[in-house]
Amino acid sequence: MKTKRMFTYLFLIIAALISIFPFIWMVISATNQSVDVTKGTMLPGAHLVENINNLFSSVDMWQALWNSAKISVVTTVLSLLVASAAGYGFEMYRSRSKDIVFNILLASMMIPFAAIMVPLFQMFAKVSSVVPFLGIDTAGAVILPTFTTAFLIFFFRQNTKMFPKDMMEAGRIDGLSEFGLFFRIYMPTMKSTYAAAAIITFLNSWNNYLWPLIVLQSPKNMTVPLLISNLGSGYAPDYGLIMSAIVITTLPTALVFFMMQKQFVAGMTGSVK
């Protein structure tokens, strides 16, 4: 029994170390000069500020951060509105075709993005000439196909199952409209579900790579993942600079995660209960 216990701890410690190591290495590398990183140093250096200055002077990091923030925030807000309304609708209202529609919706979760990206790109290429702000190389084109996901609707529907429906009846008797019911009663009660959904959507959007890579073409519209990917593809990479860029972009997501760890985990698992 004692040895089993020892083994458990040893195993978990190794697993935890392997999980954390790349983060430590990344932060240490961000504080060192490129030469030291290639020497394999594991000691923090004094070049963090220098690396960050180099980063901001060599690429338009502010622009990329702003683009990413804009896209992620808009995506998250739209996404929550639409998905929660849909999840609410699916659970609260009875209609015969509901289950069929819902199953079709779930089936869309099975479709790999790679399978639709080509026609999707063509769609947006056509839209470009008609509605400029939704065409290729705009934030709109990044947001539009990504803000509704079947997963999120499913997630809201699952959580709505636990919503006390008597409250709706009470609200109706007090004379609230259907919109009033949704905004004044449902939304405030489902706060924690919204929080979980917001984190998931924000992280996904902030980290999205493939679709922005396809639709965003000019450097000024680049999002952070695109920028990082470009930084890493040069012939003589400046490791310190690249690592400081990665630290800067990982920091917000890691902070969001630490602050809202409970909701985040609940959000991920809530969908499969």
Partner: protein, 270 residues
């Protein structure tokens, strides 16, 4: 919305897959694209690579995740919160960011080689990125690092819903940890294991960010994934949207077949 951005493109892709031509000059050619598929060595390599990832990485990761979840579910364990957070942390990183970090960690001059040499596990640096075999290994290690914690959380949360008295009864009946795991834990978690298998399979079939950012699909096409090939066909080489759509459909077919198989194998005794 979903129907506009998922199903309409699906139908468009199907129509496209019967067309061929460069750029926007497309014309119908029937099944030509589908015939080309089977003699296209790049495509076959991409499929082979993707299946190597699938067959090795998904089982290893899921078993590892389940194992860690079972260990962490022990009530007497100390520092549970720390272990859980640490192992889950990779999940919040962006695919691009962690891929770039891994690319440098596994470089010929990278920290991993330095470690292994200093520990005298290897005598000279392994060419992680430039050797066809080790490049695949690197990709597999990277994906496992990123997604084990993700799957672990699903297992952990469903383990916490399992009634403890079942284990107590089994313990009294003299079942050891091993028997308990295979006779109680695995059957009870069957639905969630099925769920994670399907999502991981779909995830692996769509593999893109890691391959592009760690190895660029190289050396040669040794690590190229199907998604990357579709991307190259549409946006890197002279655009051939028709053929790219045909390749896309091969993924849809694979997802369908694999999901059906997994449902058959895992879904019978719910």
């Amino acid at each position: 919305m979903i129907s506009i951005f998922y199903f309409y493109p699906m139908i468009q892709a199907l129509i496209l897959s019967f067309k061929t031509g460069r750029g926007n000059n497309l014309h119908f050619t029937g099944f030509d694209n589908y015939i080309r598929l089977f003699s296209d060595t790049t495509f076959l390599t991409a499929v082979k690579n993707t299946f190597i990832y699938l067959i090795i990485q998904v089982p290893v990761m899921l078993v590892l995740a389940l194992f860690i979840a079972v260990l962490l579910n022990d009530e007497r364990l100390k520092f549970k919160g720390f272990f859980r957070t640490a192992i889950f942390l990779p999940t919040v990183t962006s695919l691009v960011a962690y891929s770039v970090v891994f690319k440098y960690m596994f470089g010929a001059e990278g920290i991993i080689n330095k470690f292994l040499v200093n520990l005298h596990l290897i005598s000279e640096p392994i060419q992680w990125i430039t050797d066809p075999f080790w490049a695949k290994v690197t990709i597999i290690i990277a994906i496992t690092w990123r997604f084990t914690g993700y799957n672990m959380i699903f297992y952990l949360s469903s383990l916490q819903n399992v009634d403890k008295s079942i284990y107590e009864a089994a313990h009294i009946d003299g079942a050891n940890a091993f028997t308990q795991f295979f006779k109680i834990t695995v059957p009870l978690l069957k639905p969630i294991i099925l769920f994670t298998t399907i999502t991981s399979t779909i995830g692996t079939l769509q593999l893109f960010d890691e391959v592009v950012n760690i190895t660029k699909g190289g050396p040669g096409n040794a690590t190229m994934s199907i998604s990357q090939y579709i991307y190259n066909l549409s946006f890197e080489y002279t655009p051939n949207f028709g053929y790219a759509a045909t390749v896309s459909y091969s993924i849809v077919v694979m997802v369908l077949i694999l999901t059906l198989i997994q449902n058959k194998v895992g879904g019978d005794k719910r």
